[in-house]
């Protein structure tokens, strides 16, 4: 097949979906110049499909899910194996496998494909006080064994989340941890208060990778700011509060210790690492916001390392996150000192990945004749003197 210079450049860029788009643009239809000369949208008449769309977007409260049925527990591969862990102080889960925020929606979506009742817990999409439309396109780009994302915390706002998913969370058969994001301490407290009484919610995870409106510094970069948010939320709820640490902080261990001192019941290590891809053909960053968060297996060694560092500096439980695809990956985190793990990006490629991790951990406990999975937590840490 003859390849043009442009196609070769596109190959070099390796942004396959991007390439498809560029390729399509060239095929036919209006030229870009012609399209650029077009007028902006005038008022448009709603149609039948618009009505359907409106219903699906506005949506009444979701009360039923087209969920796959829960299998009888005694039929599951993990049955009879003690996988229970204390994922955060006061938060005992039947197994150490959670889903990572932003990769599992509100739990109802993947419930159409997998038995979510088998999971230790789910963490919902980052929730802010008010609705956020999110970031400009493009919001996702593929990287070696990973993805970059810049979604921009698109979510319907805390009260809408409570209204829309409050009824269904109680029926999902899996504990829900609400991921909280905001731009001031009041923002975090608002979200926690809005969802504290919602059935199914067992804990809160604070996303502190957001800029603070007063000063613009990331909450998660500064031990004092991170401690302020932790303390504010702890005062607002009796439920366990987990702080999700950002690897982009100059001193992650110092932030972890400050959160513990401020009353955090657990820590998640880690959120995404900042990264960027350039579209070589277009000579500009691929993501609409320029940079984004790197997730997926490419991140795993960084996440295991930080888990290992933080585990030696705090005494509260840690949830490991970053590129977990298999039970072996999960074991790396557990042995590095995590009490539980989150499966995130892997779910996009293989929606059964979180369940495979549970099955694999159960098989490991059996094969190693362990009394429980808890026996290997921190197994790789330096022995205390």
């Amino acid at each position: 097949m003859r390849r043009s210079l442009e196609e070769s450049l596109e190959d070099a860029a390796e942004g396959e979906e991007e390439e498809d788009l560029v390729e399509l643009v060239d095929l036919d239809g209006a030229s870009i110049a012609e399209a650029a000369a077009g007028e902006p949208d005038a008022e448009r008449h709603p149609t039948e499909i618009a009505d359907k769309l409106r219903e699906s977007l506005a949506g009444a409260a979701i009360t039923e899910v087209r969920a796959v049925p829960h299998a009888p527990p005694e039929t599951l591969p993990e049955h009879g194996v003690d996988l229970a862990v204390e994922a955060a102080r006061g938060l005992w889960l039947k197994n150490p496998v959670l889903t990572a925020s932003g990769t599992f929606g509100q739990g109802v979506e993947y419930a159409e494909l997998i038995d979510v009742g088998r999971l230790g817990a789910i963490v919902n999409k980052g929730t802010t006080p008010r609705a956020r439309p999110g970031n400009p396109q493009y919001r996702i780009a593929e990287t070696p064994a990973g993805i970059l994302n810049s979604i921009g915390l698109e979510n319907p706002g805390a009260e809408e989340v409570a209204r829309k998913y409050g009824k269904v969370w109680a029926k999902l058969g899996v504990p829900v941890i609400v991921n909280v994001a905001g731009y001031s301490v009041d923002d975090y407290v608002f979200v926690v208060e809005a969802l504290d009484g919602t059935a199914g919610v067992v804990a809160f995870e604070l996303n502190i990778s957001c800029p603070n409106v007063e000063g613009g510094m990331l909450f998660g970069s500064d031990p004092q700011l991170a401690a302020q948010v932790t303390r504010g939320v702890k005062d607002a709820t009796d439920k366990p509060v987990i702080v999700k640490l950002t690897p982009n902080a100059p001193n992650v261990v110092a932030v972890a210790q400050a959160c513990e001192a401020a009353g955090a019941d657990g820590l998640t290590t880690i959120n995404t690492v900042l990264g960027m891809r350039i579209d070589v053909a277009k000579r500009r960053p691929m993501l609409g916001t320029g940079s984004g968060g790197l997730s997926g297996p490419a991140l795993r060694p960084i996440a295991v390392h930080l888990t290992y560092q933080v585990a030696q500096a705090v005494s509260i439980p840690i949830i490991g996150a970053g590129g977990v695809t298999s039970a072996n990956d999960a074991l790396e985190f557990l042995m590095a000192g995590a009490s539980a793990v989150q499966v995130g990006t892997a779910t996009f490629a293989d929606p059964t990945a979180p369940l495979s991790v549970i099955e694999g951990l159960a098989a490991y406990v059996r094969a190693q004749a362990l009394a429980s999975i808890r026996d290997i937590i921190g197994a790789a840490l330096p022995r205390a003197e």
Binding site: A30, L53, Q137, R139
Partner: protein, 274 residues
Amino acid sequence: MLEEGRVVANAQIGELGTLLAVRAPEIAAQAHAGQFVHVRPGIGWDPLLRRPYSFCGIDRRAGEIELIVKPLGTGGEWIAERHVGDALDLLGPLGTSFVVRRDTRNLLLVAGGTGIAPMRVIAEQEAPRRNVTLVMGGRSVAYLWPSDRLPPGVEYVTTTDDGSFGTRGRVTDALPALLGWADQLLACGPWPMLAALGRQRDAADRAAAAFPGRRTLLDAQIAVEQHMGCAMGVCRACVIVTSEGNARVCREGPVFALGDIAFEAGEPATVGVH
């Protein structure tokens, strides 16, 4: 649903891409034109993301689907290189589908590039019951769908940029002559093509009621593409701006009412400011 498909045929369609026929009875039984499958490009984690492909053929009786795969990038290449007998990890059918009205007598289908996929499915399904005209445009004849892979009875109108086959020009240039005839218009293709269609719709919207094809343009349905992550509605990577706010192409789409889509310089309008 997740289904392990089995490749039963692999054919090159000119420069359009590779046509894969895949045995996947459960997905075939539920698939509709406009919907897509999310295909895993390999068994490992690099490349990581699945690739979305619109159904290009749905044969419920044989339990088979067809997909057009462009062998671009490592993921697309891996999928396009699957041979007869190879397994493919499929997630689908996903998204919304085109709706052909019961009272439509004359159906106009508009395709650009791999946007032929859902149009070919509709042509197969609708040719026995109504008059179907398919308009397809491409860079040259090599980028057109072969007419021997269309059902009998479909009128096939083609345009090429270089005039190597059919009328020289863009696919949208061929539409004015057909709009007065058509009761319904369905389209799938690259964003600039859809944006050009949107401008024709805007013109019709401003025109008098007697404008030929006005109703057809106002009610047109389109299928769109967007960079996609999970395709399950959770990651919100694929959102576009519609008259109803943000919509996920993988869930609220990929089929939308043309009039609901906001365009911006021939691309989907996007949230915020670049």
